[in-house]
């Protein structure tokens, strides 16, 4: 399902070019609009589709196994924190709308700035702990799991 770009919707803003992980959305020099320069390297990841402010990009299933006449469209909304899909079957018998959350927090608000958290102590540095540990590791069992804490031994060779 490589992407294609509707001529009348694209304004050449370049958002798709900016995001495509495969570097295959390029701006046509003459038309000043985007298109997929290498469909056989398109993963149908929809990154560009989701990013296009004009909904100018759509996909049609890979010609070597997907017949024409289907549709899978999407609206991703960071403000609402949702993604809305619509799947239409080729034979018209199925038309599904599916909605999912993409985040539980206002977009981008909840990642910490580690330059500003209290610096780790020497003890922590010498331990096996990482940031925010032991917060989420089950400490009531006696600290970070180690060979010793878990009664383990490491042995060489065939051991089943």
């Amino acid at each position: 399902m490589p992407t294609f770009v509707y001529m009348t919707r694209c304004d050449g803003c370049g958002e798709c070019v900016d995001i495509c992980p495969s570097d295959i959305m390029h701006i046509d020099k003459t038309l000043r609009r985007a298109y997929n320069i290498e469909p056989n390297m398109c993963w149908e990841c929809y990154s560009c589709v989701k990013a296009c402010p004009h909904h100018a990009i759509d996909v049609r299933g890979y010609a070597d196994f997907a017949p024409l006449g289907h549709s899978v469209r999407v609206i991703r909304d960071e403000e609402k924190g949702t993604i809305a899909w619509r799947i239409k079957f080729r034979n018209g018998k199925k038309d599904m709308e599916l909605l999912a959350p993409i985040t539980t927090k206002p977009w981008g608000s909840a990642t910490p700035d580690l330059a500003k958290v209290p610096a780790p102590s020497k003890e922590m540095r010498d331990s096996q702990l990482l940031f925010n540990e032991p917060k989420y590791i089950r400490m009531d069992d006696g600290g970070l799991h180690t060979l010793q804490s878990n009664g383990l031994e490491i042995k060489k060779g065939v051991q089943y």
Partner: protein
């Protein structure tokens, strides 16, 4: 060749490739190195780069120790049996004891993780997997990494690592070019954490033409983690251990949620259970220690992924294909049906597109499964990657050389697919490995190990010339012929990739030969690889985009050569269902209960192979098997 040279100096931690491993590294590095200079060099845009670009619907590695679900050693046992014994248990244990904290961080950052309302714990897909609404998994972790990094260089294709000229075998940064501007970028750094990911598109795909993009692992997974490290002389391990995936046909949609959560199951074309039929013979091949369906039935011990593949492959070869996933039962429940679709929309939209295009409604039709072409990576049910040091408190001497996740090249660390011997890390484990590597890298610097690094202009200029050679080749020779893609003086990257894939398929056990190879085929293949290597000196690029493809191809080539060498070295059939050594059709614990370790001499290109001892840290049987988790 009027491209500028842009030098970024004094970097402490350079993250090459900010996928799940790389974002974990960049994020964590800031904590242990609050004053350090942390830089990301990423081929694409970190907001949607790597294997998780389109999202994931599950986090496949989560212990749930907080909810009393599993202990790290349980996961070690699981990964070990799944990989037929061949894992680095020190690394696995280490990853497993930390992975939950990564997942809980994700939740804090806004990743919607589903909950088991009754238990209050995360909703389990299977014993190790939890379900998420993960469409924005990658942008969320990228935000965290971005906040930690001093600078993020997007669209830099890193082509080579820089090597210190004052001390042998020590890293000094990396170089590459900007895929937009074409500029040459030099990153001088004390440490490099390589998170440049695994490799798709190395073996000839089942798909043809346009559909070649529909690989299981992302088409942009260029094996750069391996290419960069191999080139620098880092030792690699388990590179023979490529993975073949059982997947929904053509779309390559994942099956985990279907098997484990939706409780769908497979049958042959005639509606028959087929798997068990192949096990008696298979047991003779691999031994009861690795396949004991009865024990697996009674306990939590899984049937190894490769052996399940073997049953599919054998049944199809016997003429009773296709294998179907029986969805028609589960999909009668509208809730499960919805999950089934969401599962694809969250990570493999193409499968949804395919079903819509082919009118496959799994509620009324059981879709086909297939086994994929092989992939080379190190975080799913396979453990290809660099030979890295384990953590101080777990690793035996052979596995430990001072800094966690450091490769055999000083100052060069690996995480995620880059690190070998740690299968079943998946997204969360890869992120965790990145964190571990970052902490260790900071320590390495703080210990003064990076002192006195020297990089000459000569090295920098030599790499520059090398990098742009494909553009040069093109401009010199293109006008010798009238037009078209055929030129006697060069090949383009696609032509080279076609050659590589065909060669890997035919001589190294691809799908086209039923995953079969042997010493003779491998040796012929290696000869052909040698010549392909020479032709890659003549690869031509008509523009910067093709230059990107040229370097991806070179990284894939180096990865492939390593796969060849390893596959030739391990003279046994360790993973039936991944590949078969026709000249040694049995698992052979007497000679091959070891990890394979290779090194390519950066000067001569010669390979040295060795066996490394295998250490086990847990017994075969769980002490107190936890209750069912679904």
């Amino acid at each position: 060749m009027s491209y500028q040279t842009i030098i970024e100096d004094d970097i402490d931690i350079l993250v090459v490739g900010a996928g799940l491993g790389g974002t974990g590294a960049a994020f964590e590095a800031r904590y242990w190195g609050q004053d350090k200079k942390i830089v990301i060099a990423e081929k694409a845009n970190i907001m949607r780069s790597g294997a998780v670009a389109q999202g994931l619907y599950a986090i496949n590695c989560y212990m749930g120790t907080r909810f009393g679900e599993n202990n790290p050693e349980d996961h070690v046992r699981y990964a070990r049996i799944d990989l037929m014994g061949m894992v680095r248990e020190d690394l696995l244990f280490d990853m497993a004891r930390h992975v939950d904290s990564a997942v809980h961080n994700f939740e804090e950052w806004g990743l919607p993780i589903m909950r088991n309302e009754k238990k209050g714990s995360f909703l389990r897909e299977g014993r190790w997997q939890i379900m998420i609404h993960g469409e924005s998994y990658k942008p969320i972790v990228a935000e965290a990494a971005k906040k930690s990094a001093d600078k993020v260089f997007n669209r830099i294709c890193v082509t080579h690592l820089l090597m210190d000229e004052s001390k042998e075998n020590r890293v000094a940064g990396a170089v590459g070019f900007n895929v937009r501007t074409g500029n040459y970028h030099v990153f001088k750094s004390k440490t490099v954490i390589c998170g440049a990911g695994g490799a798709s598109n190395i073996f000839k795909p089942r798909s043809v033409g346009e559909g070649a993009g529909r690989v299981w692992y992302a088409p942009w997974s260029s094996g750069s983690a391996y290419g960069l490290m191999i080139q620098a002389g880092a030792k690699m391990t388990q590179m023979e251990n490529r993975i073949v995936l059982a997947r929904f046909k053509d779309g390559y949609g994942p099956v985990g949620a279907y098997f484990l959560h939706l409780k769908t199951y497979t049958q042959n074309a005639y509606g028959e259970e087929y798997e068990s039929k192949w096990f008696p013979e298979l047991q003779k091949m691999v031994g009861k220690e690795y396949l004991d369906p009865e024990v697996s039935h009674r306990t939590h011990r899984p049937i190894p992924t490769c052996l399940r593949n073997h049953a599919i492959i054998s049944e199809v070869n016997a003429g009773r294909g296709p294998i179907h996933m029986v969805t028609m039962e589960a999909f009668q429940d509208p809730h499960l049906e919805e999950i089934g679709w969401h599962n694809f929309l969250g990570m493999t939209v193409g499968q949804a597109v395919l079903w819509a295009a082919t009118d496959v409604d799994p509620k009324y039709e059981n879709p086909e499964l297939t086994t994929s072409e092989p992939y080379v990576m190190g975080s799913h049910a396979t453990g290809c990657g660099a030979w890295v040091s384990g953590p101080e408190d777990v690793s035996p001497p052979e596995y430990f050389w001072g800094y966690n996740r450091m490769t055999t090249v000083e100052g060069l660390f690996g995480a995620g697919d880059a690190a070998g011997g740690t299968p079943h890390a998946f997204s969360s484990g890869s992120f965790t490995e990145g964190r571990l590597a970052a902490k260790a890298a900071c320590k390495y610097i703080d210990d003064g190990k990076a002192a006195g690094i020297r990089v000459s202009d000569a090295q920098i200029n030599r790499r520059k010339e090398e990098i742009y050679k494909p553009l040069e080749t093109y401009s010199v020779y293109k006008n010798e012929v009238v037009a078209g893609s055929v030129n006697p003086n060069f090949i383009n990257p696609r032509q080279g990739l076609d050659r590589l894939q065909k060669l890997m398929d035919e001589y190294c056990g691809g799908f086209g030969v039923n995953y079969m190879t042997n010493d003779k085929l491998l040796n012929i293949g290696l000869k052909k690889m040698f010549i392909l290597g020479q032709d890659l000196e003549k690869v031509a690029a008509s523009d910067i985009h093709e230059l990107l493809r040229a370097w991806e191809l070179k990284h894939r080539f180096l990865t492939s050569e390593s796969v060849f060498q390893h596959t030739l070295f391990r003279k046994e059939t360790r993973w039936p269902g991944y590949y078969y050594r026709g000249d040694a059709m049995k698992l052979d614990d007497e000679n091959w209960h070891v990890l394979t370790v290779s090194r390519r001499d950066p000067k001569t290109g010669e390979y040295t192979m060795e066996k490394a001892p295998l250490y086990h840290l847990v017994g075969d049987v769980e002490k107190a098997p936890p209750e069912s988790h679904h």
